[in-house]
Point group: C2
Chain length 195, copies 2
DNA sequence: AGGATATGCGGACCGGAGTCCGCTTGTCTA
DNA sequence: TAGACAAGCGGACTCCGGTCCGCATATCCT
C-alpha cells in the first residue's frame, strides 16, 4: 500500500520508444544542420531516422512539438540561468540582490539573444501549429517568472504577457524585415520591461 | 500625350474577373454562415462559386487573402470612423478636440469590439499564412495611425507595435481560453495605450 | 469588324501535415 | 519462462493549400 504513488506519474517510456525519440532528434539535427529548417519535413525526418512517420507523431505530437524538442536544450540553459544562475539574471547576489527591474531587463537581453540565434526554428515551431507558442512548457515558465518580477504592477500577469508578446518570433521577424536593428528592438522591449 | 497617366495605375480588372471575385466572396460567405470557418477550404469555396481553384488563388493570392477580403468591409467601417468619424475615435470635435490619449483609448475599445465579433475569421486569416497579419493593408494603416497618436513618446512606432501586439488575435484567443474576461483584457490593453 | 495580346480560367497535380489500424514487441506478473 | 496486454510501430491514406500550364476570352487598336 505504501508504494502507491500519490499522484499519477506518466508511466515510464518504453526502451524502444526512448531509443526512437533519440534517433528522431538526432536525425532532425542532422537534416537541420545540413540543409536548414526547410529540410525538416516529417517524412524526411522519419526516413532519416529510419522509423515510420507515425512514430514521429507518437513521440512528438506534431511538427511544432518536434521543433520545440530541438530547442529544448538551449531553452533549458536559459531557464536554469534564470532560476539559479548568477545575477542579474538569477536571483541572489550575496551582497546586493538585484532589483526586479534589473532582472526583467536581464531577461529581455538574454531572451533576445536566444531569439536572435534561433529565429528560424522558433518561427518554424510557431508556424507549424496555431497557438503552438502558448503550449510550450517554457512559455508558461517565462510567464510565471515575469509575473513574479512584475509583482508591484497593477495586473502583473498582463504585464508579463505584454513583454512576451513583444518577444514573439513572428513580430521580431517582421520588424527585422522592415529594417529594424536589433538595438532598436532591444531598446523598445527593454523600456517596456523597465517601467 | 496629355492623357498618359503619370503613375502606373493597376490596370482595371477585367469584367469576368470582377464577376468571379464577387461570386467567390458570396460563396465564401454562404459557406461560412452555414458551416462556420471550418468550411472555408479553398476547394469548397471554388466549387460553391462554380469556378476553378486557380481562379480563387488568382483573385485572392492565398487563403489568408480570401479571408481578409471577407473581413474587409467591416474593417473599412472602423478605418473610416478612425479617420473621419465623430470623436473620440475620429479627430475633431468642433469645440474640444479629443486628446491623443483619448483617441488611442477609443481605438483600443473599437478594435477589441471588432476582434470580439470576428475572432474566428481573424484567427483563420492569421493562421493561414505565416506573418499574414503584417501583410494586411489595414495593419499598416493602424500602425501609422497609432504611431501618430503616440507622437510624444520616445519611439512612437515601437509603441504602436506594442499595442497592436496586444491586439493579436492569437494572443487574445489564448487569454480567452485561459479564462480571462474581456474586461480584464480591455483594461490591460487600455493601460498600455494610455501611458 | 478583325487581329493581336495580355489577362484570366480550370483543374490536374504536387508536397507536406496529420490520422488510422493491423501487426509487433517490450514489460509486468505468476 | 510463459502468457497477457498495454504500448509502440510503420506506412498507406486522407485532406488541404498552393502551383502550373495549355486553352479561352475580354479588351484595345486600327
Amino acid at each position: 500500500m505504501e508504494d502507491l504513488p500519490l499522484v499519477d506519474q506518466p508511466p515510464r517510456e518504453r526502451a524502444d520508444a526512448a531509443r526512437n525519440r533519440a534517433l528522431v532528434l538526432q536525425a532532425a539535427w542532422r537534416l537541420y544542420n545540413a540543409r536548414g529548417v526547410e529540410a525538416l519535413t516529417t517524412d524526411a525526418v522519419a526516413q532519416e531516422a529510419g522509423v515510420g512517420k507515425g512514430t514521429v507523431y507518437r513521440r512528438f505530437r506534431d511538427k511544432s512539438g518536434l521543433v520545440s524538442a530541438l530547442l529544448d536544450d538551449k531553452e533549458k540553459e536559459l531557464q536554469l540561468a534564470m532560476i539559479s544562475g548568477p545575477p542579474p539574471l538569477g536571483p541572489d547576489g550575496p551582497h546586493d540582490p538585484p532589483t526586479a527591474v534589473a532582472r526583467r531587463t536581464a531577461f529581455v537581453h538574454a531572451y533576445l539573444d536566444y531569439v536572435q540565434s534561433h529565429l528560424d526554428l522558433l518561427l518554424a515551431s510557431e508556424t507549424a501549429a496555431p497557438g503552438a507558442r502558448y503550449r510550450l512548457g517554457v512559455y508558461q515558465f517565462w510567464k510565471t517568472h515575469l509575473t513574479m518580477l512584475f509583482g508591484d504592477a497593477y495586473d502583473p500577469e498582463f504585464r508579463a504577457y505584454t513583454v512576451l508578446a513583444l518577444l514573439d518570433a513572428g513580430l521580431i521577424q517582421h520588424l527585422r524585415t522592415e529594417g529594424w536593428s536589433w538595438e532598436r528592438i532591444r531598446a523598445g522591449v527593454e523600456q517596456e520591461a523597465r517601467r
